[in-house]
């Protein structure tokens, strides 16, 4: 079996279609110019990769518009809707949010497209996808990580066609953020050049339709042969100086593709143009190839800038064009070789037979993702065997949660006494397991996540630390985002905090967890709104199929005085401040594992399709549900109360479910990852084999060896099985 790229769409500063992009590659068209999108106060605009002629179709932020253009091009000849959408995004509706906050407009309705998750949902509505719609936010590797997740989804047989890619739009946060880090070259990026001084921030979108097939379909453009993910676990914003994480990701990608370095004809470099990134990447490439000849290589970022979450997907598109058009694209901006890098990229487009491409993407948090793409008919390796479609069960070895009451123990005590637990997690509780000196630069969400991780891994940290980290968050670090923009506006767009920029990146918390535990495996952050934790669990199960190493799955969100009400419609509707989260220390389960968790169903409901019968059948039918699960914990976000309750009632009437159904958001509160708390509570209840008094009835409820089903309703429907 193979996973083939059967169509693609792209929009970048040098072209609004595949056709235009190919012409731009042939002509090595430069696309970097001084910023025009927003005024830059007293300072002259920096060079950026800006898309100048963007026509908006709906009243949506720039990111959404870019994603739709690329998705429509990718889907224009596709017959059926894709089974899933996986999209890398970091900016979401930030460009609009910035304007609103700057002008003091505080109407929550205006912020409805703020979330990164809303981009994938917008795309899913247009392409009529009714399956999983996942959002990946791992900074500049997001697009490539999204493609890896799509690849595993297809290999597992859970989907036949997946639309995957990445998108980001220029906004103040990224423009000023990278500048504050002194990572922007004021003369425009010239990757791999001796005089390089930094990147040019850019924007764009690339979407690819991936199709699983026994043999190459007629319209196959390339084959996604493999992909590797790793984490440096070294620094929040700088790469490992020797490129160790990059090297691991390249090695894993090659081994996943079942090929060796000698099979590579072209390396599509990450090549941002920053001093340290290019050096780390060069060192990793030298180590990978040792004394073997290094194939031609080039970075596109001197021509189009760094489109952040789109970059990895754009890399996949350009790599495919390189294969289909037999061309090595030019490394625009390169003039003067750097002896330290000891690599000379292609200075102009070169005709060459290209069969196999290695495409690199690296991001903040030391987040690395590498893809291997090949000619659809000229595979150099044996095909990948099809995996089982059975969902991967993970054994629960440790857990922790935070609610307004405090930790899991305190939360369960309070619930048992009939006391409320919804509220803001007390700060001293978060700091209990952390050294305040160590976390001096971290704000609320990062601290909460790190504390949850330490608590869930208690007893295992030294002997068996987690190798991979999966983190779901609806909103990321709101404190850092707010503080960054506040400082920027207070200084008339002159000064801001580099520390806040680093912390505002959605995957910042997962990066800190990796540094703490030296978790050098996959480090995936998912930001799918109220389903973010479930998406993290889903990603964990997809990427853990052939390992037996421990991992962490975490879900957490912070409450922010100003932003929570503006961003989260459920908070705006409920009005009661609450935050928290949960963490699970897991390992792929064996038949002897006593307590297991499994994400068995996930689907987007934005196209109004009735998925309840599909949910019931995936769970094994009414009889299995009624026999195996002693209780249901159900999560219905306040903003989707009516539709969610209707979905739940349909589920209950179709199954005739006889046991208690606990509406956990009523006592945990409204925050996007409340389901992470529910999962941890379910683990505790199963361990005690009872649900304590006052949770669902006056007396405690014995579970009699049965499990608990955590169901999510609303715009995404999800089912998490937790079984003894």
């Amino acid at each position: 079996m193979g996973i083939f790229i059967t169509s693609m769409g792209i929009i970048s500063p040098v072209g609004c279609s595949i056709h235009d992009t190919m012409n731009a590659i042939r002509n090595a068209t430069p696309g970097i110019k001084p910023l025009r999108l927003f005024p830059t106060g007293q300072t002259p605009p920096l060079p950026v990769g800006e898309i100048s002629s963007l026509s908006f179709i709906d009243d949506v932020p720039r990111t959404h518009a870019l994603a739709r253009i690329a998705a429509e091009e990718a889907m224009k000849d596709a017959g059926d809707a894709p089974d899933a959408v996986v999209i890398g995004v970091t900016t979401g509706g930030m460009s609009v949010t910035e304007e609103l906050l700057k002008t003091g407009i505080l109407d929550p309705d205006k912020y409805k497209y703020h979330s990164t998750g809303s981009v994938g949902e917008y795309v899913a509505r247009h392409v009529e996808c009714n399956g999983p719609v996942l959002t990946v936010s791992t900074a500049c590797s997001s697009g490539a990580v999204a493609l890896k997740i799509a690849l595993e989804m297809l290999r597992s047989g859970k989907a036949k066609q997946v639309l995957a890619g990445g998108v980001d739009a220029l906004c103040r946060l990224t423009y000023y953020g990278f500048h504050a880090l002194q990572l922007v070259d004021e003369t425009g990026a010239h990757p791999f050049d001796r005089k390089r001084r930094g990147m040019s921030v850019g924007e764009g979108a690339a979407m690819l339709l991936l199709t699983a097939a026994e043999s190459p379909p007629q319209n196959a453009l390339s084959e996604l042969l493999g992909a590797g993910l790793s984490c440096d676990a070294y620094h929040p914003a700088a790469p490992h100086p020797e490129g160790l994480g990059a090297l691991t990701a390249m090695q894993d990608a090659l081994s996943d593709a079942r090929i060796s370095p000698a099979d590579i004809d072209y390396i599509h470099l990450h090549g941002t143009g920053t001093v340290d990134n290019d050096l780390a990447e060069a060192r990793a490439i030298h180590t990978l190839f040792r004394d073997r000849p290094i194939p031609p290589l080039s970075s596109q970022k001197g021509a189009i800038g760094h489109s952040l979450a789109a970059a990895g997907a754009m890399g996949a598109v350009v790599s495919t064009l390189s294969i289909t058009n037999s061309i090595i694209p030019a490394n625009t901006g390169f003039h003067d070789p750097d002896p330290l890098l000891n690599l000379i990229p292609a200075v102009k487009p070169v005709e060459a037979n290209v069969t196999t491409v290695l495409a690199n993407s690296f991001g903040f948090g030391g987040n690395n993702a590498v893809l291997v793409l090949g000619h659809p008919q000229r595979r150099k390796s044996s095909p990948t065997p099809m995996r089982t479609a059975r969902p991967v069960h993970l054994a629960v070895l440790g857990s922790a949660c935070f609610t307004g009451a405090g930790n899991a123990k305190r939360t369960i005590e309070c619930l048992g006494h009939g006391e409320g637990v919804r509220g803001i997690v007390p700060s001293p509780e978060i700091l209990k397991l952390l050294s305040e000196k160590y976390v001096r630069r971290l704000k609320r969400l990062c601290r909460m996540v790190l504390s949850l991780a330490v608590s869930a891994c208690e007893g295992h940290e030294k002997t068996d630390p987690p190798l991979a980290v999966y983190f779901g968050t609806g909103w990321g670090g709101m404190s850092e985002t707010y503080d960054f923009l506040s400082k920027l506006y207070a200084s008339e767009e002159q000064f801001t905090s580099p520390t806040d920029f680093i912390g505002s990146v959605h995957n910042a918390a997962a990066g800190h967890v990796a540094i703490r535990f030296q978790s050098t495996g996959p480090n995936v952050t998912t930001t799918g709104g109220d389903c973010s934790f479930e998406h993290a669990l889903y990603s964990a199960s997809l990427l853990s199929h052939d390992t037996d190493t421990p991992l962490l799955v975490i879900g957490a969100d912070e409450y922010h005085d100003t932003l929570s009400h503006l961003f989260d419609a459920s908070v705006a509707r409920e009005g009661f401040p609450a935050d928290g989260g949960g963490a699970l220390y897991l390992r792929p389960a064996t038949s002897e594992s006593p307590l297991q968790i499994c994400l068995s169903f996930i689907a987007y409901t934005g196209n109004n399709r009735n998925t309840i019968s599909e949910l019931i059948s995936t769970l094994g039918g009414a009889k299995r549900i009624n026999d195996q699960f002693g209780a249901i914990l159900t999560g219905i976000p306040a903003a989707q109360r009516e539709s969610g309750e209707a979905q739940l009632n349909t589920f209950l009437s179709m199954t005739g479910y006889p046991h208690p159904v606990i509406d956990y958001r009523r006592f945990v509160g409204e925050f996007a990852t409340a389901s992470a708390v529910a999962a941890v509570l379910a683990v505790s209840f199963i361990q005690a084999d009872e649900i304590p008094a006052n949770v669902c009835r006056e007396h405690s409820l014995p579970l009699r060896g049965r499990g608990i089903l955590v169901l999510g309703f609303g715009s995404h429907i999800s089912a998490v099985e937790i079984t003894p």
Partner: protein, 88 residues
């Protein structure tokens, strides 16, 4: 100069959220980055912003940064000369 050194110490503590550190704890001649205070490259960038905002001092290269942030005394010296150079 002593006044400027003390002022810078207070600003460093505040800008970098240095828990449990008081100005007297900072030896103005000791290595500032990578020393006992546990400061690194991100802290340097935070200080670059603070210096530009509060003193109008621009530090836009790594080489200059390494010299300026060698110690609090070196930093005070640079700020002092930058400001007197500007007023001349």
């Amino acid at each position: 100069m002593n006044e400027l050194i003390n002022e810078l110490k207070v600003k460093i503590i505040e800008a970098l959220n240095l828990i449990d550190v008081v100005p007297q704890n900072i030896d103005e001649n000791a290595q500032l980055i990578g020393g006992d205070l546990g400061l690194d490259s991100i802290d340097v960038l935070e200080l670059v912003m603070m210096l530009e905002k509060d003193y109008g001092v621009k530090i836009d290269s790594r080489e200059l940064g390494a010299k300026v942030f060698a110690s609090v005394a070196a930093l005070a010296d640079y700020v002092h000369h930058y400001q007197s150079g500007k007023s001349n």
